[in-house]
């Protein structure tokens, strides 16, 4: 692939570059040169002032393969990732079988070979996510695993969690927890608050999330030298716990999803099962705390928790509906509309949380936009308004409450692995 991108607005938080009117020449997967008024024999693409950023990385997606290919496959999930502006994703291990051994890791790597989107599997902390025995960490590390998590649920036993931290730190894994005190949440389907009181639906209290965040921070401090990451954090209390841990100098990080900075539990009244998530959509004070956490840097990353489910699993009553929504294709539109255009984050800060920080946490190579570097780019028209419709969806599933939303800021395409992808 040889390509000349004309009229780019390069924003690269790593080099600190923020410059408009530049051209980028790309050949053989590398940036050949950057300058003004370049010309080349290569295919020319006029970006008309669009932003060129280091490739976005979503560290929390469910690709459902192996085992639940009717919801998503690595092929359809990475297509959705490309359309959503992500050049890399980390896929969660709650597949069937789960990513608990190197064979499943290589199955996924084989399926993703040659893809424009990099797929980094996340492996389980414990065998088959049962929370009992440690997963085979040496062989997982040998297979290139960078992050471990029993996502979909928390490790229930504090003692097992302690051993995960102790053993896992020998491989410098990022230990990521889905924080939920399950004894408090069995049978629940939404946040416990005013809306659950009104609708009479069983509620998942925010303190059930906070308890596990607090427990794990205490354990991580006790064990020492642990890199601990809170997945899809959603409560005011948990954000304060992470903030305090950072002030103490612990290596505690966290991510938040777009739906937790855009929606509250009130969405359940209109969207029913399509608004059922885990952790659930919380209330206004939590949403405000998430926004503040993004602003003050407590929240390191934005991740989608892309969770495809078939229509019949979501368009049903709140008790039986599956948890989660697809998120790859709306993430950038929601982020720009609700965080950047509102002035909560600068474009550069936003890019840092979508690209630089997740890559840093996973110890992936740093991406720079400069001559000689690998071309790993996300291209965004920041002011373009568009309406998200079913026809836009490339994921195999369509479970989202955002259909019909008008968003400001659209992904134009990505460049990675010597390939390019452009949205129509």
């Amino acid at each position: 692939m040889e390509l000349l991108l004309k009229n780019c607005h390069i924003i690269d938080p790593v080099t600190g570059r923020d410059e408009q009117g530049l051209d980028i020449e790309i050949a053989n997967g590398q940036i050949v040169q950057i300058g003004k008024n370049l010309s080349s024999k290569a295919e020319v693409k006029d970006l008309a002032g669009a932003i060129v950023a280091p490739g976005f990385f979503d560290m929390h997606v469910h690709l459902r393969e192996p085992g639940q290919e009717y919801k998503e496959t690595i092929e359809t999930g990475t297509r959705a990732a490309a359309a959503g502006g992500f050049t890399g994703v980390c896929c969660m291990p709650n597949t069937e079988p789960s990513i608990s051994d190197p064979f499943v890791v290589s199955f996924i790597r084989d399926k993703a070979k040659g893809n424009i989107v990099d797929v980094e599997p996340c492996a389980t902390m414990t065998k088959a996510r049962k929370g009992e025995e440690l997963s085979p960490m040496q062989s997982l590390a040998d297979a290139g695993i960078r992050m471990i998590s029993d996502d979909g649920g928390a490790v229930r036993s504090a003692d097992v969690m302690r051993r995960v931290f102790e053993y896992g730190k020998m491989f410098d894994f990022l230990c990521t927890q889905h924080c939920e005190e399950h004894s408090m949440t069995a049978g629940t389907c939404m946040h416990e608050g005013k809306v659950s009181t009104k609708l009479g639906l069983p509620g998942y209290p925010s303190v059930a999330e906070d308890i596990i965040v607090a427990r794990d921070i205490l354990l991580a401090e006790y064990v020492g030298g642990v890199r601990y990451h809170v997945a899809h954090l959603s409560t005011k209390g948990a954000i304060q716990l992470v903030r305090d841990a950072k002030h103490k100098g612990l290596q505690i990080t966290c991510e938040v999803t777009p739906h937790h900075f855009v929606l509250t539990d009130e969405a359940v009244e209109t969207h029913f099962g399509q608004a059922k998530m885990n952790p659930p959509l919380r209330e206004q004070q939590d949403l405000e705390a998430v926004i503040e956490g993004l602003r003050d840097g407590t929240i390191d990353c934005i991740a989608t928790d892309h969770a495809p489910h078939a229509t019949h699993e979501k368009e049903t009553d709140m008790l039986t509906a599956a948890y989660g929504i697809i998120g790859l294709e709306t993430a950038v539109g929601l982020g720009l509309t609700h965080l950047v255009h509102t002035g909560i984050l600068s474009m550069s800060e936003y890019i840092t949380k979508c690209s630089t920080n997740p890559r840093k946490l996973l110890k992936l190579p740093t991406i720079k936009i400069e001559a000689g570097a690998t071309a790993n780019l996300t291209i965004i028209a920041p002011d373009l308004s568009w309406t998200f419709e079913k026809g836009d969806i490339r994921s195999k599933s369509q479970n989202t409450p955002f259909l019909g939303y008008t968003l400001k800021g659209k992904v134009m395409g990505i460049i990675n692995n010597g390939q390019s992808f452009w949205n129509a």
């Binding site: 009181t197 009479g200 639906l201 009553d317 019909g404």
Partner: protein, 337 residues
């Protein structure tokens, strides 16, 4: 008959203009047609007054010792009673109301049928309504199901909520209100206590909406473990854990059924413990002149001792009789008003 039905649907379409429209978020607009009974919270004051008044017209017929005078108001209409959760009395009450208005009825206990075979809720309801059904009466253990079905079913199929999770039970509230009005006259300023498992009670929520609309002062009484955290803010009611503290000032006491087995025994230590704190014992009866209501089935010697359940001021059987009259009024409101 076909002509008559299409005429009715024509009327329904014409009424679309005055349907209430709720703007819910930036673009989603959900129209709730006037002719469903999804919950008390969706009814206007005029609707409520019409329904209560209309139930009065049927009530003497239900109490009469003479054979019932059947109406043909719903001739040609087919009503399907879809009970995804067990019910004997509510389902029977609906069936009788439907039959006494001349409708064709079919009742299905869904908790043992399709859903266990893996069919989805929406598919199940679509299959039933494909058999030319004009109205469904639906009970389900999850709050919000009637609205969900409204979103998925064709407009001409009317929906009656016969109880959705712990959200609403509008026909129960209407029959309770009608019973209370018969006993107390206007409910303006009257004090009514709802006692027991507020947390898991759709009866409580629908009654709070309705009794407050009718001017009553509602107090909810429950142990802390069965009291929703935000009840005061959300429903604007008084809330107490101590029945004895408020019992003296009540005009009526509505006891709720406690479902100790179903709720995994985490909320109260024992039924005996609950009785000593919340049961209508002879001692508590002596502290008040209030009328006694209960949506049934009564756990005798738990919520109500025999002295309360069978007292002259117990309205329990009155409630049951009124239930048929209220459900007849609702069906007429849906199809003929």
């Amino acid at each position: 008959m076909r002509y008559r039905c299409s005429l009715l649907f024509g009327v329904s379409a014409a009424q679309g203009a005055d349907s209430r429209i709720f703007v819910l978020d930036q673009i989603k607009i959900l129209t709730i047609p006037r002719r469903d009974l999804l919950g008390i919270r969706f009814l206007t004051k005029e609707d409520l007054e019409w329904l209560l008044r209309r139930s009065d017209a049927h009530f003497p017929n239900i109490l009469s010792k003479e054979p019932i005078v059947k109406s043909s108001a719903l001739a040609g209409i087919t009503v399907a009673n879809l009970f995804f959760e067990n019910s004997t009395r509510t389902r029977t009450s609906f069936e009788l109301a439907e039959k006494r208005l001349g409708a064709d009825t079919v009742s299905l206990s869904m908790q043992t049928s399709s859903l266990t075979k893996g069919e989805s809720l929406i598919d199940t309801v679509n299959v039933i309504t494909a058999m030319k059904i004009d109205c469904i009466v639906v009970r389900h253990n999850a709050g919000g199901v009637p609205q969900l079905l409204r979103k998925h079913l064709p407009d001409h199929i009317r929906i009656i909520n016969a109880g959705d999770g712990a959200c609403e039970h509008p026909t129960q509230a209407l029959l309770d209100a009608a019973t209370l009005i018969e006993a107390l006259g206007s409910l303006e300023g009257k004090r009514i206590a709802i006692v027991g498992d507020i947390q898991h009670s759709r009866v409580a929520r629908s009654n709070i909406y309705l009794l407050k609309r009718l001017g009553a002062q509602v107090t909810v009484v429950a142990p802390n473990t069965l009291m929703p955290r935000h009840i005061r803010e959300v429903f604007d009611v008084e809330a107490h854990y101590d029945l004895d503290h408020v019992i003296g000032e009540q005009d009526a006491i509505m006891a709720l059924r406690i479902q100790h087995e179903r709720q995994g025994k985490r909320y109260i230590p024992s039924l005996g413990d609950f009785r000593s704190k919340y049961g209508m014992t002879p001692h508590r009866l002596s502290l008040t002149d209030a009328f006694i209501l209960h949506p049934g089935p009564v756990n005798r010697s738990v919520e109500l001792d025999d002295e309360a359940a069978d007292a002259g001021r117990s309205l329990i059987l009155r409630q049951v009789a009124r239930g048929v009259a209220v459900r007849m009024a609702i069906l007429e409101w849906l199809f003929t008003k």
